[in-house]
Symmetry: D2
Subunit: 352 residues, 4 copies
């Protein structure tokens, strides 16, 4: 904690601030300059509210020195974390692609999407059974029936499964059917939910809130890590800005920033990040080029009839083409993307 | 729903869109202009995703005509709603002030704050027992002990009580002790919670999310109203912008906007809206001048030692002075603010 | 300047940073704590780019201590500045109202507006002759003809005159006709223009850019002050956020913030700040209640036929009513608003 | 223009709106639905302010159908524009890289940077002689001396030259020395400047303002195009959001959006877009992967001693490495990036 005094601060005011810091069990170092005094306070300031010090007489500014998160920081754990769902490893050399429909609707729909994304090289099936919708009048998901369909399709096509959990009461159900919990952007600061997920064994895909700073996002990860669950995968999915042509502004620069601040893997959701199917491929390519550890993409075999978010779901043929483009880009940053299994099945011949 | 076709749209493309709209049970009116065709589709489009239509060939833009909320709209209920907590009426001529500490900490602290805010003219005690904190290492509230302290202080000083509910599992407890549920900004889109509050009898103070549009905020109110609970009070508490000098940017213009779009009462929280004690009074005055139905303000008798948000808590003497200023402003817009009880107790003599 | 080293910074890295700071003619104070070293550097750091230091090995964070502006700061000049246009004083006890049409269109229109705003209590006529318009196809103003009409109307009704200057080449013309230059939001960082206005004698109304921080705004004021022109009046007119119901989000909290950081007077433009006529009165009341030194409001006798911004122009009768409301509010914060002259002319009888 | 009437609009109100539209020379088509009436107005509505219609009684919402720009739109010119600086073609198959120092400082510095960027494959030298700086106390550029140094270095290394113009008075000077004018973000709405550049023959690199919507940016391009200068290259350089870890948020999604709306080429500035050297390479790769027609990057041989923006300038070795990565990425989207000359000089051998 660094406390900068005002230019006209009196000796009495300075001493009062020093006493206050000592009362907080901090070691204080005082630097007296030509026009100002600066106090460096060393100790554990993770619990302090810097604004409180700012209210003391004579104080100009207070700056916190330690990041407020610990377990999530790269200083705490310098090497990158790999989160494993069985043999699928997020955060390693391979860029992992999760894909599937926005919501589970019917067995056929889920199965067709799973087949398509597997063929193109995805490793994890995504799909919602509990849907957080802005309007109470929108389709809210099939619940356990949806989970059952998703699990069956994942098994059939040898895919892992990730699905959204909206509330503590749904954890048991999601845990039964899925390999990873997904926490949506609207729940990034649902602390009751985060605490409970910290007690689980399966990993968590934690989406960034639409107005969350990267620091707040890492603090939400800290809630899960502090509970004992080390399997956190961060997911950038767009932030809200004044620009409205796209549904959100996908913050691609969050990728290198998170890589510097934290050891946790980061994936990108270009479907929610743009909200428009024709913008998904360029942004997916950009994410991989910027160093993302994975992608989560909505694919639907008949998006015009999707019960939710059809406008941002890719057709399987578009997804195929995107995967081919990504295979060219990944080596530029020393990554691979699902090379082997596809090769074995002779996929690459038909691509172009 | 209005569908604007591209300038070069073919007759075939136009007919395909018309067929699509008819398939959705809409009446379609076609306007053919010099350069473009515009399709007006009449019917219930509350469930439709306009982006889906935008993906059809030849479509330039799709605009939704009906607001997506219904029960919350002023078109549905032209006269303003008054939400009653016993004899305290929010949304009537009187501007209602809720005040108290950020968190309940000790019996003495809660009681001292309650005494101070009652004396100055507040009608409702505010105070948190469950605290949503960005960091898992921050004080998380006293839970039921805190609620017990708050209820005792409210009873002692003849105040109503509002306190935050963070999760469905806490509803029963809050209901036992409080007169109104508070939903925090981070939970504005916790739909599981909103649905359950829709089944309660006591009113709900619904804070706006830091990046929520006014439309999304009204849709969250709609979740509660649709469940059968008509007692929703909206609370503006600041939105996130690029300006960082203040913690948030208090959107005062949301007051007249909400008044036009909805019949629900709206109150303002200048404490969280600014995050700094010395900005609370100007923003509270601004809110009343702009037409707010009430205020919710943090007051603490020893804010420098508060366990949370002390920097934004007013001293009782500052709060007294603010209430006196508000009594001058309220009549400018035909409102009153706690005139009578204070008069009876001879408060006004000592004010200045 | 405070430099926080990383937890694992080596002694060699620390010494390199110290040497770098000494090379910049700074006195360096070193605080060695349990886990980190903090360097306090005292000296003139107004010209330094803190990001450069951040790039040195072992550095975690760099924080600038001095505000980058000097002449505009309240530390430099503790008492508030009063900017005078003859006997009209902006920044004193009286809240000054500037009003008039968005653009000068015809002699009759300008004259009718001037008469109306004078009668209601405005002291300064506003009106544009050079209009910055987003589209090249929109009405761009009447130029010198417009200035002539505005000056004649101001003289006729004993009002001062403020009008916008868009480019250095227009300064002479505006100076001839007006009592104050207006710099629009889009030109807040047109440094060539600001430098030239610093050489003028007449005061400048400096609007805040739609995405300018308060610090950047004060730095733009610094350009004018540094040139020798001390007559700067700041004008908040709304910032751009994700909320689109209003054209901009009027940042009312900027009023108390500017009052703390700077000695310069601040006025508010609720017409551009909201973009909708029915939101102007509530926001004008809010601005005065929050402590604004003045208002600048668009008034048009026939706004539906205005060539620009008619939707945000008030009818004279609405403006009359607003002024009456403001007269009730101003005393709440120890201000007056055009009481005397109106009284003398028997204005108050006809008001309600 | 589509006018949606309120649910309760009376026949008289509807007729008044129809009359108003007819008065504006629009053809009106009326659609009467179950609950509302929708009016489709066909004609040239580029000059109309939709907010004016919204103020009429009974009107619920007004939506503009035509984009407000014309010459910049892809509807007007379906094939992409190629802007030529001699044999260097921006907007063709080749991704064009512009690079060089933020500011010209000395002959040696400019020359060293030019040599380095040429060797790595850049085609255009960038460098500032007139610098728009937030603070009046910062280095403001060398003026004509700087331009002379830049031109000499460009000639020496067979590069084209682009440099910033801040004011109409500098156009002649920039035109003498440079191959392309650069308009900075702060001047994107300096209409006097844009109009004058519309009369020039040399192309213009138009940066997006930090809070400009894509529509406003295209309208600024329209000012130049409408003046007769068809050589406009758009440049995305980051928008301002609540996230402060990066200086700005580089809006990569603007690339596919602009490609859809307009025929003009678009390049990206990852140096200003991030403000930190270590974020430049990931964002440059992302931009090319998303389809940018070019990049503009700051490179300095001794960035720690740069007079401006050193923190965001790359070392030549970093720039070399980036170019090698881009050569892998470009083919993924059917583009090339400076293959031939570099090959001839045996550059590729030494790279890895």
């Amino acid at each position: 904690m660094v406390v900068v005094m005002q230019e006209r601060a009196s000796e009495e005011q300075i001493e009062k601030v020093v006493a206050h810091l000592v009362g907080l069990k901090m070691d204080v170092h005082r630097s007296t300059g030509v026009s100002r005094t600066v106090l460096g306070a060393v100790g554990d300031d993770r619990h302090l509210d810097p604004r409180l010090l700012e209210m003391l007489d004579g104080v100009s500014e207070v700056m916190q020195v330690t990041e407020p998160y610990k377990l999530a920081s790269r200083a705490f754990k310098p090497e990158g974390t790999v989160v494993s769902l069985g043999e699928v490893r997020i955060g390693g050399d391979e860029v992992i692609v999760m894909a599937g429909p926005c919501s589970a609707e019917t067995e056929e729909q889920v199965n067709a999407a799973a087949a398509a994304v597997k063929k193109a090289g995805a490793k994890i099936l995504r799909g919602g059974a509990f849907k957080p919708r802005s309007s109470p009048y929108s389709f809210q998901g099939l619940g356990e029936d949806g989970l059952r369909m998703l699990r069956a399709a994942a098994n059939e096509h040898d895919l892992k499964l990730v699905s959204e959990v909206m509330d503590v009461s749904q954890i048991g159900l999601i845990e039964t059917y899925c390999d990873m919990f997904q926490v949506g952007a609207r729940n990034m600061q649902n602390y009751t939910l985060l605490k409970e997920l910290g007690r689980q064994r399966k990993p968590v895909l934690l989406k960034r809130g639409i107005a969350a700073t990267i620091e707040e996002w890492l603090l939400s990860a800290e809630y899960i890590l502090a509970g004992g669950n080390g399997g956190v995968v961060l997911c950038e999915r767009g932030i809200r800005t004044f620009e409205n042509y796209t549904r959100n502004t996908l913050d691609i620069s969050a990728i290198p920033v998170v890589k510097k601040l934290s050891h946790l893997p980061i994936v990108v959701d270009p479907s929610h990040g743009t909200g428009r199917r024709d913008k998904v491929a360029p942004m997916a390519r950009a994410a991989v080029a910027a160093g993302a550890d994975g992608l989560i993409i909505e694919v639907h075999c008949d998006p015009d009839r999707a019960l939710s978010d059809g406008a941002q779901s890719m057709f399987p043929s578009q997804f195929d083409r995107l995967m081919a483009e990504l295979r060219i880009i990944a080596p530029a940053i020393g990554r691979t993307i699902c090379l082997e299994p596809v090769m074995r099945r002779g996929w690459s011949q038909g691509e172009r």
